[in-house]
């Protein structure tokens, strides 16, 4: 209801301001933010906040579109942005996997298909196991896995957190007996026994956080909310690659578009709502501009290549 009333109000304003000079200023049409995951997770919530602020501040309608790729992760959604125009009307909200793993698989994404507008979220990505598993950190898991079958559940074999888990296993000298790709990893996955160890974000296992064992978190620093859980890097010796989410546009989009988006998004990330989210969930919310993000992507590319080498690809 509110959206339709806003739509009508926007119609009125667009017609009235239509008499403005023909110099097209961004944004001059509706803008879509593409989130290549199902709704509900952190990147979805934050992107919706950005879209709302965008609409308020520019007067153009901004909407968030979820394009879950099912078994294919974020790539179908990324391809949709890639096939879109370069005028800034389609903006992607992508995880690290898109610019880094995308070029490695044969789907049409190159290393410079997308230009980062900025990175704003680090996921609280963890390895979790059920409460009555016989291990509560990586060392115990390594010991347990020597004689027992441990099955890893993840979001896709080529994705970064999966690679990190396998690299850690290699370095700690144990093997996962098998692994499965899921499109949703949550409390039920552990309680029904579909996987013994899962790679997931804290948002998805929030309801049962008290009853399960968090073995490690994938990132550069431990998460405050989980006391006593060390990072995967500290426990196994893999590099401290982090799983982040950022705003991207198709390469070729004019700089003023990127600047405008950065201006609005960085303000959203500094807002109180975002800060509350950060404290409550363990995610880290910040803003890294275009150049910083590009540099970070390059260094993450190197880290990812390292992981591949450890696994033996």
């Amino acid at each position: 209801m509110k959206k339709t009333l806003t739509a009508i109000a926007l119609a009125a304003t667009t017609v009235l301001t239509g008499a403005a000079p023909a110099l097209a200023e961004y944004p001059n049409g509706p803008v879509q933010f593409v989130v290549p995951w199902p709704p509900g997770d952190f990147e979805d919530i934050l992107t919706r906040m950005i879209a709302e602020d965008f609409q308020e501040q520019t007067g153009q309608s901004a909407s968030v579109v979820n394009r879950p790729g099912g078994g294919d992760g974020p790539f179908p959604g990324a391809l949709e942005v890639l096939n879109g125009p370069t005028d800034g009307s389609v903006v992607g909200s992508f995880v690290i996997g898109v610019p880094i793993v995308g070029p490695l698989i044969d789907i049409g994404i190159d290393e410079n298909s997308f230009t980062p507008v900025g990175i704003f979220l680090t996921y609280p990505f963890v390895l979790a196991a059920s409460g009555d598993a016989g291990y509560s950190n990586m060392a115990e898991l390594a010991a347990y896995a020597q004689d027992n079958d441990v099955v890893l559940g993840h979001f896709g074999a080529g994705l970064t957190p999966t690679k990190a888990s396998y690299a850690a296993a290699k370095l700690m000298d144990f093997e996962f007996a098998d692994d499965s790709a899921f499109d949703m990893l949550d409390c039920n996955t552990l309680s029904s026994g579909d996987a013994d160890v899962i790679n997931t974000t804290l948002a998805l296992i929030e309801p049962c956080l008290g009853e399960i064992n968090i073995l490690a978190n994938i990132g550069a620093e431990p998460i405050d909310k989980l006391n006593g859980v060390k990072t995967l890097a500290a426990q196994s010796g893999v590099n401290d690659i982090e799983l982040w989410n950022g705003l991207f546009v198709k390469t070729g989009t004019p700089q003023e578009v990127i600047d405008k988006l950065a201006e609005i998004a960085s303000a959203t990330m500094a807002s109180d709502a975002a800060k509350e989210l950060m404290v409550a969930t363990g995610a880290r919310v910040y803003w890294q501009g275009m150049d910083e993000s590009a540099a970070r992507i390059e260094s993450d590319r190197a880290k990812s290549a390292d992981l591949d080498k450890i696994i033996g690809n």
């Binding site: 339709t4 739509a7 926007l10 119609a11 667009t14 017609v15 301001t17 239509g18 008499a19 403005a20 023909a22 097209a24 001059n28 049409g29 509706p30 309608s61 125009p85 009307s89 007996a177 098998d178 499965s180």
Partner: protein
């Protein structure tokens, strides 16, 4: 209609009494359980075009079977050596030494599901073709009509409307949603025979209603790069793109 009961003897069909009772209500001579058979509601009998379509269906199934070997990752399969003994082990008949591949690793490969599907689909399609063929021969044997000409004309008639829909789909990126829908909404009823002024007005109103409710009000997505709108000055272009 009978006038009176004196002419009873003329009705050889009804021995005892006339089908009409004294008070005029009709009493059926049919036995009760023959009156309505529920099974008739769901009765299925193969119609004329059945054989032709069954042939096409079987051809499609065989087509997928042929391309199964190249299109599903069969070439990249990873199966343990000694498949026979592996299966025997899986079914619990024998014990194998050393490391045994997990069944899950085989099931995850991309060709497993197509194989299982085709194992059900191809026999079903071929059996259906055989049943259809048997029915066809049965009908021919009893000199019942078997020509599917009428069905074929009906299939061809539908193709015309398929063409209209495809043209509409291809027209939208050029003329925009509003114009294309109004054009189709006026043309189709006209083609179907609703040519009077009242009907033309009704068609126009309905198509406009559809455009306004779905596009302007509910903002459903329609193609965003429209040739016609690009010819308009920038302000109008934005307006038309958002609302029409």
């Amino acid at each position: 209609m009978i006038e009176n009961q004196n002419t009873k003897s003329d009705f050889a069909l009804f021995e005892d009494e006339l089908p009409f009772e004294k008070d005029g209500t009709f009493k059926s001579e049919c036995r009760p359980d023959k009156k309505v058979k529920l099974e008739d509601l769901f009765k299925f009998s193969r119609t004329r075009g059945d054989l032709q379509v069954s042939i096409v269906a079987a051809a499609i199934a065989v087509f997928f079977l042929i391309f199964f070997w190249s299109q599903t990752g069969w070439e990249k399969r990873v199966l343990p050596d000694g498949l026979g003994s592996y299966f025997a082990h899986q079914l619990g008949f024998i014990e194998l030494d050393g490391r045994v591949s997990r069944l899950g690793r085989i099931l995850k490969q991309s060709w497993v599901a197509p194989l299982l599907c085709l194992l059900v689909l191809v026999p079903a399609a071929l059996m259906n073709l055989w049943a259809s063929f048997k029915e066809h021969k049965w009908r021919k044997r009893f000199l019942l009509p078997t020509s599917a000409y009428f069905e074929m004309t009906k299939y061809a008639a539908a193709l015309e409307f398929v063409f209209y829909f495809v043209s509409y789909t291809l027209l939208v990126p050029y003329l925009g949603y509003l114009l294309s829908t109004v054009l189709l909404g006026l043309f189709l009823p006209w083609r179907l025979g609703y040519r009077s002024r009242t009907w033309m007005i009704r068609s126009l109103c309905s198509s406009l209603a559809i455009v306004i409710i779905f596009r302007s009000f509910l903002q459903i997505k329609t193609p965003v790069s429209i040739w016609l709108y690009d010819q308009l000055p920038s302000a109008f272009r934005g307006f038309m793109l958002t609302y029409f």
